[in-house]
């Protein structure tokens, strides 16, 4: 009896997660095809082959699914680096993840523009990035490569600084190379000396 309830619940949860994934995939495709302007919830649900009302079980508003599309891309990117050999070294993981995420502004300006134009964009970026960023900084503190007294403040400053670099590139205020600077400066913020930080940022070039 208990078993059956558990199985039922998990089946419902799995189905919910599948629907959510279908909606995000559909929105990603539609944004890639037509951009954000004119993206309609009915087009998303039609493409995902789910009922219109189902959308609002998963998302409060259109900006929330756009955040999910962006989060999917960023977390996927960060995850692929976390699973690479580079991630054994927290400093190299910070440098590689930072450069990969900032380079979106050069290599996938559509996605970067989605990110910086979201309502409460910084707060959403922080929500997406903070768990992984916090974990890698803590790992570096534990192994002694980072020197951070006040993690909440440093984390807040680091994420805000990286976000502003992405926005600066999207807006055309910052040019080529800002991703390298950003990676090196984030390592300085974590307590590395300038030369070592620059060395780590450059090592990611050949990854």
């Amino acid at each position: 009896m208990v078993d059956r309830t558990v199985r039922k619940t998990s089946r419902a949860a799995r189905r919910q997660a599948q629907t959510r994934a279908d909606l995000i995939r559909a929105a990603t495709e539609l944004i890639a095809e037509r951009g954000l302007d004119g993206l309609r919830v009915s087009d998303i649900t039609e493409r995902a082959d789910v009922a219109f009302g189902t959308f609002y079980n998963q998302f409060k508003a259109k900006d929330d699914i756009v955040e999910a599309v962006v989060a999917d891309a960023l977390v996927g990117l960060a995850g692929s680096i976390e699973n690479s050999p580079a991630s054994d070294d927290p400093a190299l993981a910070v440098a590689a993840t930072t450069r990969a995420i900032v380079r979106i502004a050069y290599d996938d300006p559509t996605l970067a523009r989605l990110l910086v134009n979201l309502e409460h964009a910084e707060a959403r970026f922080e929500r997406i990035i903070r768990p992984q960023a916090g974990a890698v900084l803590e790992r570096g503190m534990a192994t002694g490569v980072f020197d951070i007294d006040d993690l909440p403040t440093v984390l807040t400053m680091s994420i805000a600084a990286a976000f502003e670099v992405i926005r600066g590139i999207v807006d055309g205020r910052l040019g080529e190379g800002a991703d390298l600077t950003c990676a090196a400066v984030l390592l300085r913020m974590a307590g590395m000396d300038a030369a070592t930080a620059a060395g780590y940022a450059h090592r990611t070039l050949n990854q």
Copy 2:
């Protein structure tokens, strides 16, 4: 003839500047007395004793005079530090100015809240702070205490990071001591090693 034109122009410019200063002072008083909600342009012009229409020669909208009120306070604060003996040392100037500006969030939460709630708040903060921040970083680069390759990116990151600390304190996400961390981390970003940066941040405590 030329002389008279020049004199006339400069008299008109002086009068304009005086009107602007009167409007900003009036708005500052009204905000201090009643807060931002319900601040009306007609109240500001009445208090400043100028014609209603004059306001719109100086400011496009109410948020623009609020920005001017905030800018006045921040630039005044930064200027008083620039004129102190501390400012001979660019590292001490960065530390002292950073702490003084971030401490507004603890000591004058009304002003800090005005700042973070402005429309395009980060962009406005950047516009206010960037000239002085850029000048002091350049001074430190020239004297060799700072090590910065890519000033536009570092400046963008520093200003965004400091702004987010102010917002974090206003929102209650960051606690006491965030101003010290912020000052030390900004010096790290400028290339100082962690111990020296922390030393400078703490030296400002007894200023």
